[in-house]
């Protein structure tokens, strides 16, 4: 924040406060008696959280199509720990994030050396690998049958409580990512996106920072997976496929890759729009394709570029 003009920082803070107010007060008050819509908003909040992670990997110049894999990892960690060992969800949730982060770190170390299309190809394959891994997990994952009857903690049994938990997680995630993007680290990430070799030559430990970004992204995927696991109370190897990884990416693009608010805006817009237009819901995937193409042709910097100036405009050289 120190490197921003105070007025801009104040505006962002005010924006965040309004966002928090809407999520935590306005939405619950407006939808308290409509459990179905609360579920829709919970889904949107969780998908937005997953997209925020993908956004962070975009900020280091990597096209990450692996978020579905980490959602799957997080979901299975919670499912296995809760059903086999009866461990409380409040322990499972951070553990899901930790395991997803660990997997992200181990897998990320080799594959983050790849750039451009190579990285997106391997992350895409990673989503399939995760599905196959859980399919072949034997007694631990029950193969294609998946794990059912995942207990939902009593505190979160109502739709309202689950929504509030999702909203709080999203707010925390947004704050973390915003802090990342607007600190020294944000500049490091942007310099890596523009020219990794140049950043490296300036003494930036590129390898460490890109793993950091990927690990944070994976941890957020793990949290999303854990939350969806208790909301659906079941998980299968095919719960998250390549299409889900692509969807996470689409939310980022639709909102705009230059703004932290981009993935949040994109996720809420698409999830809610499709609920409102339930008549066209069966064409959802088709329309996602049309949105992606239209977005690239007409608004390559995302929908938020209609109302917001590109960040860094005031300090660009």
């Amino acid at each position: 924040m120190a490197d921003q003009p105070p007025r801009a920082a104040g505006r962002t803070l005010a924006g965040f406060a309004v966002f928090a107010l809407v999520l935590l007060v306005v939405v619950p008050l407006a939808l308290a008696s409509q459990p179905y819509w609360l579920t829709v908003f919970s889904n949107a909040a969780l998908l937005a959280l997953g997209s925020l992670g993908v956004w962070l990997t975009f900020s280091i110049g990597r096209i990450n199509i692996a978020q579905g894999a980490f959602t799957l990892v997080g979901g299975y960690v919670t499912a296995i720990l809760a059903t086999r060992y009866g461990i409380s969800f409040w322990v499972c949730l951070p553990l899901s994030a930790a395991v997803a982060a660990l997997v992200g770190g181990l897998v990320g170390w080799p594959i983050l050396r790849l750039r451009g299309v190579y990285f997106s190809m391997i992350t895409l394959s990673l989503t399939s690998t995760a599905g196959l891994l859980f399919l072949n997990g034997g007694a631990l994952t029950h193969g294609a049958e998946g794990i059912n009857n995942i207990p939902r903690p009593a505190v979160l049994s109502s739709n309202l409580a689950f929504y509030l938990a999702s909203a709080v997680l999203l707010l925390l995630g947004t704050a973390v990512i915003w802090r990342f993007a607007h600190s020294r680290l944000g500049y490091v990430f942007r310099s890596m996106r523009q020219n990794e070799d140049l950043a490296w030559s300036l003494g930036i430990d590129v390898a460490r920072y890109r793993i950091l970004a990927f690990v944070v992204s994976s941890a957020m995927g793990g949290i999303v997976g854990a939350m969806f696991a208790i909301s659906q109370q079941s998980i299968f190897p095919s719960s998250y496929t390549v299409n889900d990884s692509v969807t996470f990416m689409l939310y980022c693009f639709l909102g705009g890759l230059d703004y932290v608010a981009g993935p949040v805006f994109g996720a809420f817009l698409l999830v809610i729009a499709f609920q409102l237009l339930s008549a066209i819901e069966s064409y959802q995937a088709l329309l996602y394709g049309v949105f992606m193409i239209g977005c690239m042709l007409l608004r390559p910097n995302g929908l938020l570029s209609l109302v917001l100036a590109p960040p860094g405009a005031e300090q660009s050289s």
Binding site: Y118, I122, T129, N136, T241, A285, G289, M292, M296
Partner: protein
């Protein structure tokens, strides 16, 4: 998931059977890998919709040959033409514009992902969800050294081989082929030498897409087709490219041979979905050692 298993093999099949299957599979995969490599090297663009294009090619043969009972060759021709038109249209109306104005590399890639979603869902809408197959074009089986080779697969193998050789000749020795190679090496220099860059790029995209259509048309005779196979095929194409190296013709063929044999041997000796799990894990380990594939150029 990825298990589009050609012929069910019992445990303890002779090695020769796995090798014969590997040959047929490799030739088919080489068609896929060459198409995606052609587009990648000319446009510097990864065609995410390649698997979906293959699927549409399969449906073309299903309708022309399977439903309307016209000659199989006509079906293949229809597949190549329809996909060629789709490819040319994509280049002309979508990618040309976006590649020109794009400020970030991600833009063209997301556009490619969008076209994949679009094709898959249009196909789902037009052709439905059912698995479709076609009757044999030639019947009979030849047996040697303990391995069975249906004539159908022999035909697929030979047609694929002829197409691969034809493509290599076209790229190496003809005028438009040379223009494409020039474009792949240096776009600006090619333009200065009088190459019509726009037309050549469109032709390259059309040929790449047409090859996907032909591969799909051949594959439908042995594996059948359904609207959902696209993503898995694209992933296979990506594996081949990552093994061989992106944008290199030799690498594409090498990657196809490696994957074809790995898959046929794996399916012969391992339980179903384990094969691809091992292939993925081996791929990640391989990329640790050689991030740009066997024959690829260093990135950037």
């Amino acid at each position: 998931m990825l298990a589009v298993r050609p012929v069910p093999l019992a445990q303890g099949v002779p090695m020769t059977q796995a090798l014969v299957d590997g040959c047929v599979l490799s030739a088919n995969y080489a068609l896929i890998a060459l198409g995606i490599t052609l587009i990648f090297s000319i446009m510097n663009l990864l065609n995410f919709a390649h698997g979906q294009m293959l699927m549409i090619g399969g449906f073309m043969v299903y309708y022309v040959y399977g439903v309307f009972h016209l000659p199989f060759a006509l079906g293949l021709l229809a597949a190549a033409l329809v996909l060629g038109l789709i490819g040319a249209g994509f280049e002309r109306f979508l990618f040309r514009r976006v590649l020109r104005v794009a400020t970030r590399e991600e833009n063209s890639m997301l556009l490619a992902v969008g076209t994949a979603l679009l094709l898959e869902n249009v196909a789902l809408f037009l052709f439905g969800e059912k698995q479709r197959g076609v009757p044999e074009t030639v019947s009979g089986v030849v047996q040697f050294a303990g391995a069975f080779l249906p004539y159908q697969r022999l035909e697929v193998f030979l047609v694929a081989l002829v197409l691969i050789l034809g493509l290599l000749y076209f790229v190496q020795y003809t005028r438009p082929g040379r223009a494409m190679r020039a474009l792949a090496q240096d776009r600006d220099a090619a333009r200065l030498m009088g190459v019509n860059v726009d037309r050549t790029a469109m032709m390259g995209f059309a040929i790449g897409a047409g090859l996907a259509g032909l591969a799909g048309g051949l594959l439908v005779t042995v594996q059948g087709v359904n609207a959902g196979i696209g993503t898995d095929i694209s992933i296979k194409a990506f594996i081949m490219i990552m093994i061989g190296g992106a944008g290199v013709v030799g690498g594409a063929i090498l990657g196809a041979v490696v994957l074809g044999f790995a898959e046929s041997i794996g399916y012969a000796y391992l339980p179903g979905s384990l094969t691809y799990l091992l292939i993925f894990l081996a791929l990640i380990l391989f990329l640790v050692i050689r991030p740009r594939g066997i024959m690829g150029h260093p990135w950037g």
